[in-house]
């Protein structure tokens, strides 16, 4: 493609997975209406889940999942060395995701409970950026393919992309969702970064904060809003810890 007199390149992309559900990778094959165009803009050299081609020389690495075993530490270091741009894909990669809940338990005991007398190697869960430097984080559980597309476009053509600075509430309003607080549900929307188009409140679920905090959060006020409406401390704390995005804030 040529624009403004500049010829653009197809970047070589590698997709890798660590501890997680592989749901974010799956999103890459979703959004069928633009899938063909998406694939024609990039050169997928390495994507174990859908391809046996084991090309090397990727410049952009999309990495899904958290780090929770020694071999994963080595593998992510290797990827970091190869990649010019390392993109953390999804809440597990960005914050540790639900996997982080494991860190609340004693790992030996956990191992005993699941594997009895044949424990398996495991480490406390870490986000990618706790192991190697990350260039870009696309949060979400799962990531929104539309957002991934825009990030990829940004990487190829430097077209505008910014994560919304504002919280989920704005997107709720823009899709005419009745605030779930009105329905007696707890919601992390007022402090969570928008960009997902607020599917959870729209389904009456309330936001669980999978995208982590908005650019600026008024955490104090959020707490008092939640308390005023009768949500217990436990419930609020559980909710904040669910995806691991509010570490250091909550």
């Amino acid at each position: 493609m040529k624009y403004l007199g500049i010829e653009s390149q197809r970047p070589k992309i590698g997709v890798f997975d660590f501890t997680g559900c592989e749901g974010c990778q799956l999103q890459l094959a979703n959004k069928e209406e633009t899938l063909a165009a998406f694939l024609s803009c990039i050169d997928v050299v390495c994507f174990r889940e859908i391809s046996s081609a084991s090309g090397e020389g990727f410049t952009i690495a999309l990495v899904e999942g958290a780090i929770s075993r020694e071999d994963e530490v080595e593998r992510i270091r290797w990827i970091r060395e190869q990649a010019e741009v390392l993109v953390a894909l999804g809440s597990c990669a960005c914050f540790g995701g639900v996997n982080r809940l494991k860190n609340d338990f004693d790992l030996d005991e956990a191992n005993r409970e699941v594997y009895g007398d044949q424990p398996k190697p495991t480490l406390p869960v870490r986000a990618i950026n706790e192991v190697v430097p990350v260039d870009l984080e696309i949060p979400g559980c799962p990531v929104s393919k539309a957002e991934v597309e825009r990030v990829v476009q940004h990487l190829i053509w430097e077209v505008p992309f910014r994560f919304p600075a504002y919280p989920v509430c704005l997107e709720c309003k823009q899709r005419y969702t009745v605030c779930v607080f009105e329905m007696g549900e707890l919601c992390l929307g007022p402090i969570t970064r928008a960009g997902c188009d607020a599917p959870c409140p729209a389904a009456g679920l309330g936001c669980w904060g999978c995208r982590g905090p908005a650019q600026e959060t008024n955490f104090e006020e959020f707490l008092s809003v939640a308390r005023e409406r009768g949500f217990s401390e436990d419930e609020i704390v559980d909710r904040l810890a669910f995806f691991g995005g509010f570490r250091g804030i909550a």
């Binding site: 624009y3 403004l4 007199g5 500049i6 053509w157 430097e158 077209v159 505008p160």
Partner: protein
């Protein structure tokens, strides 16, 4: 019922309930349509700034396009975005306009990558201008700091090209370091014009720099000002114009004779998006050129 609810087509502008005057009517279609323009030349000024010479492709539109010093256009790179940029060229120059653009983000980045011949869009001109006509017959101080030379340059041309209309003319320009000086190839020309005092100062000189060193206010020390007979245009970052203007007003210059150009975020240029509000004043409509008194009264301006 059917004939009651015929779709009403604004672009046909026939049966408007309240007839619009001609001006507005013609604007109706123009406001969001940009003039397609070609980048004729790209001139590298510094590492961060480039000068773009841009020509509106449609000839008759190009001929009708006119502006006043200090006004800006919305420059659009389709697919990338639209940004406000002051016009840097002379108002008497027809055929093309010059835009001096610093690489600051997405759209400016795309412009900096763009090659000669690329097509971009421009809308405008928008905003208020420096009152060059009123300044005729007076002494003129043209002061710029850093990128402030971009919005000031058009006024410099207006003064130079009509030198006889003005009394004493001082052009003062300062930047951080010599490699940030814009339009350095033009100082020679401007300085040679009879009876124009051009002085350039930098804060951090390099080995080759032989000129004065310091803040721009230092240049003011060497200049005799008759406060009652002088107009000043000051362009630059807020700290700079604040210092310069308060210095000048201490010397007795009326605040309404000092003009500055403000910069805010803008998304429309037409007084709609509210992004450029200073307090509740629209920079794009009531500015970007303000006199110093107005600025002092704008809460939140400095």
């Amino acid at each position: 019922m059917k004939n009651l609810f015929q779709p009403y087509d604004v672009s046909l502008e026939s049966e408007m309930l309240e007839p619009l005057d001609f001006n507005r009517r013609s604007r109706l279609k123009e406001t969001d349509r940009c003039f397609k323009a070609e980048i004729l030349n790209v001139i590298r000024l510094t590492d961060m700034e480039k000068l773009f010479q841009v020509r509106i492709l449609d000839e008759s539109e190009g001929e009708r396009f006119s502006f006043l010093p200090g006004q800006f256009v919305m420059v659009e790179v389709p697919g990338y975005g639209e940004i406000p940029i002051s016009i840097s060229s002379s108002t008497s120059r027809t055929g093309y306009v010059e835009l001096c653009i610093r690489r600051a983000g997405i759209v400016t980045g795309a412009l900096h990558r763009a090659k000669r011949g690329a097509h971009i869009g421009i809308r405008g001109p928008f905003g208020t201008h420096f009152p060059i006509e009123t300044m005729k017959g007076y002494d003129v101080l043209l002061i710029a700091g850093g990128l402030g030379l971009a919005p000031l340059r058009s006024s410099i041309f207006a003064v130079i090209e009509n030198r006889a209309d003005f009394e004493n003319v001082h052009i003062l320009y300062g930047t951080k370091s010599p490699d940030q000086l814009l339009f350095d190839y033009q100082y020679e020309e401007w300085g040679r014009i009879d009876d124009i005092d051009l002085q350039v100062i930098v804060e951090e000189p390099d080995n080759e720099w032989t000129g004065p060193v310091g803040l721009i206010t230092k240049l003011l020390d060497g200049i005799e000002i008759d406060p009652q007979r002088t107009f000043a245009i000051v362009c630059g970052p807020p700290v700079m114009f604040k210092f310069v203007c308060s210095r000048l007003s201490e010397q007795g210059m009326p605040m309404r004779r000092m003009f500055i150009s403000l910069e805010r975020r803008m998304h429309c240029g037409m007084g709609k998006c509210c992004r450029c509000n200073i307090g509740s004043t629209f920079t794009c409509m009531e500015g970007p050129v303000f006199d110093y008194w107005t600025v002092m009264n704008l809460k939140e301006a400095i």
